[in-house]
């Protein structure tokens, strides 16, 4: 090949690079490894990474069962190793599957249009807020404090340089956005209110009431949904103007936090301000139905600095996992799946309530709940780890006022025996704190 090009050595190919910058040594990276060594390396890392533990963690990343056909299908090279479907004639597989994805997201969220995906739930929420800012011509944003704290942080990062002041609205004693606080936070310059439902504490927000307040002031309502399985049994926020969703629960592995699958869904009239790729139906020159990427004039490769977002690569293969998951469970299965989540959670919360304090007990919830203990939840979790159980997420990491409260999550995969073991250890902790206290009181007497 070198001869065909008329060169003597490979080095000649790199002649355009000034000699002083050419690397004349080996990169200092691990030596080349055989496939068997690579597999072994990652198996070892897996053993150091919680393999074999039962977990009660949720908080934006949920452990649901993944039907095996998901990986069987997404591993087909035609899906796995294809590029963005710009050449429609040889991308109909990807395009039609995205069209079906968009349809099912609309069905589940009650919205009219959905895009092909965003990076994740946090960036989808930030982009949805920016969309509301463009649509209303207003700048200020009211964010519920019951939103996932990391979503809030991401929004703050995106908002910093766009002149979008954020004000945070507190939650009340019922673990839901305090409507009086919301009223106070809204100004004539409020572009939108951003809430999550079910919210970070697993509590279902009163979306109707929030929508009414937002709309009364001419602001839009953006609802973030982090636990997609809730849509099987919880009424979607139909009064929202934009929904920013994390679809990880639909067949996407936890994968230590990513890749996941964000989605934005909205009303048809707002579609031209929507970020991200969209697939539309059309016909070919023979009148045959087919699908294409459409409304690209919103996007960066056409509009450059005037685009609705800079997003290019999205989460297509993960959206395909989500699509297959939604197809497998479908109309009946999703409801049954969600109902099992509800039942496990109701049982667990009931058991915990016998020994510790379950907060926000009067509000409807999906599959997460907050348990307050007398002892530091980190200490309790330390003992649970000995039983190969990962306890709930101590909340003071994000909410210092919560002290000894932790956020617990159950899914259809949580077994009764794991719940009973965890409850047993929490009960033991409560008993020992109580008896220690009694001892102190005894001594004091």
């Amino acid at each position: 090949m070198l001869k065909a090009i008329g060169l003597r050595s490979v080095d000649d190919l790199f002649a355009p690079i000034p000699a002083e910058y050419r690397l004349t040594r080996d990169l200092k990276i691990p030596r080349q490894m055989a496939e068997s060594e690579i597999v072994d390396f990652f198996r070892q890392r897996s053993r150091e990474n919680g393999d074999g533990y039962t977990s009660f963690l949720g908080a934006g990343a949920y452990f649901h069962y993944r039907p095996v056909i998901i990986d069987a299908l997404i591993s087909r090279g035609e899906f796995l190793t294809a590029y963005t479907p710009y050449q429609a004639e040889i991308s109909q597989g990807t395009l039609q599957s995205i069209f079906e994805f968009q349809t099912m997201i609309c069905e589940l969220t009650g919205m009219e249009v959905a895009n092909a995906s965003m990076y994740d739930g946090s960036t989808a929420a930030a982009e949805a807020v920016m969309m509301a800012v463009r649509l209303t011509g207003r700048r200020q944003v009211v964010v519920a404090r019951s939103l996932h704290p990391e979503y809030r942080e991401v929004l703050a990062t995106y908002a910093t340089h766009q002149g979008m002041p954020l004000s945070i609205a507190a939650f009340g004693g019922d673990g839901r956005l305090d409507l009086k606080e919301l009223e106070k936070a809204i100004t004539p310059d409020t572009a939108c209110v951003l809430v999550q439902s079910p919210n970070f504490f697993g509590t279902i927000e009163d979306v109707d009431a929030i929508a009414e307040i937002a709309h009364k002031h001419g602001a839009m309502l953006v609802v973030s949904i982090a636990e997609a399985v809730s849509l099987g049994i919880v009424e979607p926020p139909r009064q929202a103007d934009v929904i920013a969703m994390e679809a990880q629960s639909f067949g996407v592995p936890l994968g230590f936090g990513g890749p996941y699958c964000g989605v934005i869904a909205t009303r048809e009239k707002y579609v031209r301000q929507m970020p991200g790729r969209l697939v539309g139906q059309t016909v070919d020159k023979q009148g045959k139905r087919g699908f294409v990427l459409t409304l690209a004039t919103r996007e960066q490769h056409i509009r450059r600095e005037k685009a609705t977002s800079n997003i290019c690569t999205n989460q297509a293969l993960v959206a395909l996992m989500v699509n297959i998951f939604m197809t497998v469970y479908g109309k009946i299965g999703l409801r049954e799946l969600a109902t099992q989540n509800l039942a496990k959670t109701a049982y667990a919360a009931g058991q915990f309530a016998k020994h510790g304090k379950v907060l926000f007990a009067a509000s409807p919830r999906f599959n997460e709940f907050v348990v307050e203990t007398s002892e530091d939840p980190y200490a309790i979790n330390g003992r649970l780890l000995g039983h190969k159980i990962v306890g709930g997420l101590p909340l003071r990491k994000f909410f210092p006022e919560f002290g000894n409260a932790a956020l617990w999550c159950c899914t259809e995969l949580t077994t009764r025996s794991a719940i009973d073991t965890a409850v047993g250890l929490v009960a033991e902790s409560e008993r020992s704190v109580r008896s220690a206290k009694e001892e102190v009181e005894e001594v004091a007497r």
Binding site: F41, D51, T123, G257, G280, H301, Q340, P364, L385
Partner: protein, 496 residues
């Protein structure tokens, strides 16, 4: 001439409707285990929040689902089927060992909030990949948090802004060459920098005189792709960096074309201050029909305080953990730690190659692009004769005389069994054909590609209509994009 088997042939083509059109009540593909806790009254638990109906969600059987998606898949072209020479996208082979290791139990199912004590495996992977990428780029520190290239650009520019802010002046604009990817100006706008265009010279490189005259204390950074989108290495790179640095500006490098450099030259050594990588381009993680990607951002020491939170650290006891206490950080750009599954794949790729393999990869990628250039020079117009690195850009100037444009040639290439090259980009070449073979292609596959391109050029002369009406071998052809945009149909709806 030696007989060659042409690449494209017809094969059985299934018709397949939408999944909703197969749905009927009572079919299912799921089964839940019996409930081991008491059943609940959903109405009592949820009250008014209870959902009654899931609308038009499908009801289908498992075999129907398997056939549905398998049939759809046959309508896709893919690297696994053949050469995918999309310039600037680096469509290289996606090794299957990457997929296998990403699915090992503890790696696939690790929860992002599980205690650090039982997350050492994942943290170790993050640390190792970070160190490899720092060495490959010649930079000082890195964040793996951004989810894709454009997200990395945003993260990089946020750090640029924070850096200037810390010096008392955030500055106003970013210089971007006219050959740049659309994400560059779109990103600058998201970080509230004005975009100023920088023109290219007659050799397709940054016009250094223009840069000198446009550079001033209002310029925060230059966003440069190197090699640029013409596949040309910026030979004056040291001068470009000096001009920027002299006025306090920073050099941002879009690493989209890093496949031309790995193991041969390091951006950190030629004056780059901030750059992003695309793990889904250079480091072999699959494109998956448009994602997921991963866009790590590597930086020089001076920008380290501004890295997104959290930052991976080695704790006094030798274990790994995250540091959240970073007062100068630009903040978080994504929940959790980034597209971890892509880190696993990229690290497996680096391990499978080692220092020799990565160098060889780069050499082969550049050799392949030059081989294609040689094979097609004279048949297609080469607007810039500057030496080619990993990709080569032709134009349709010769074929346009017959009314055939780059998109037509691209569509005809489909009939020959190849995925088209990138069309109509970069914008500085009217009617561009941007070809990037990557190191993955053998001489045999490239010879077939060159033959196909030559044959199409002949067709343009003898029978342009065949090219203008292509593709002829696909299930659908020349879909009406205008109609799709004018009256958007973005979801299926039941007919009755």
């Amino acid at each position: 001439m030696k007989h060659k088997t042409p690449k494209a042939t017809r094969h059985v083509n299934q018709n397949e409707g939408l999944i909703f059109e197969k749905s009927s009540a009572g079919k299912s593909a799921w089964k839940l285990p019996p409930l081991d806790v008491p059943e609940v009254d959903t109405a009592k638990l949820l009250g008014g929040s209870e959902r009654k109906d899931l609308g038009n969600m499908p009801e289908v059987s498992e075999i129907e689902i398997i056939r549905h998606f398998t049939r759809l898949s046959t309508w896709n072209y893919a690297i696994d089927l053949g050469m995918y020479p999309l310039g600037s996208c680096t469509m290289k082979y996606n090794p299957r060992v990457n997929e296998a290791v990403a699915r090992v139990e503890g790696i696939a199912n690790g929860h992002p909030y599980q205690p650090e004590k039982i997350s050492q495996g994942a943290l170790h992977i993050i640390k190792m990949l970070s160190e490899c990428l720092i060495e490959i780029t010649g930079m000082d520190a890195i964040t793996l948090q951004p989810a894709a290239g454009a997200h990395g650009e945003m993260t990089g520019l946020l750090m640029v802004r924070a850096y200037h802010q810390s010096k008392g002046n955030a500055r106003k604009k970013v210089l971007i060459p006219d050959s740049a990817h659309g994400t560059n100006p779109a990103t600058a706008a998201m970080v509230n920098y004005a975009v100023e265009n920088l023109k290219s010279d007659s050799r397709g490189m940054v016009d250094v005189a223009s840069l000198e005259s446009q550079m001033n204390e209002d310029v925060a950074a230059l966003m440069l792709t190197n090699p640029n989108t013409l596949g040309v290495f910026e030979q004056q790179i040291h001068k470009i960096a000096d001009i920027l640095h002299a006025k306090g500006g920073l050099l941002y490098m879009d690493g989209a074309n890093m496949n031309a450099l790995v193991g041969k030259v390091r951006p950190g050594d030629f004056g780059v201050d901030v750059m992003h990588l695309n793990l889904h381009k250079t480091f072999s993680t699959p494109h998956g029909g448009g994602g997921p990607g991963s866009g790590p951002v590597a930086i020089k020491k001076g920008l380290e305080p501004f890295l997104p939170t959290p930052v991976l650290v080695t704790k006094p006891d030798g274990t790994l953990g995250f540091d959240y206490n970073r007062p100068h950080s630009v903040g978080r750009v994504r929940a959790f730690y980034g597209n971890f599954g892509m880190f696993v794949r990229a690290l497996a790729y680096i391990q499978a190659n080692g220092p020799d393999g990565l160098r060889q990869t780069t050499e082969d990628a550049v050799l392949n692009a030059n081989y294609i250039r040689k094979g097609l020079e004279g048949i297609y117009d080469l607007p810039y004769s500057t030496p080619t690195m990993h990709e080569v850009v032709f134009s349709d100037r010769l074929q346009a005389k017959k009314g055939v444009r780059t998109m037509d040639i691209a569509k005809r290439l489909i009939d020959y069994g190849f995925h088209p090259y990138t069309t109509a980009f970069p914008l500085i070449v009217p009617g561009a054909l941007m070809i990037e073979p990557t190191e993955s292609e053998s001489k045999e596959e490239m010879d077939l590609f060159i033959e196909a391109m030559k044959s199409i050029a002949e067709e343009v002369e003898e029978d342009p209509q065949t090219v203008l009406e292509a593709p002829h071998s696909t299930r659908v052809s020349r879909l009406d994009e205008t109609a799709a945009a004018r009256k958007p149909v973005l979801r299926w709806k039941p007919t009755n």
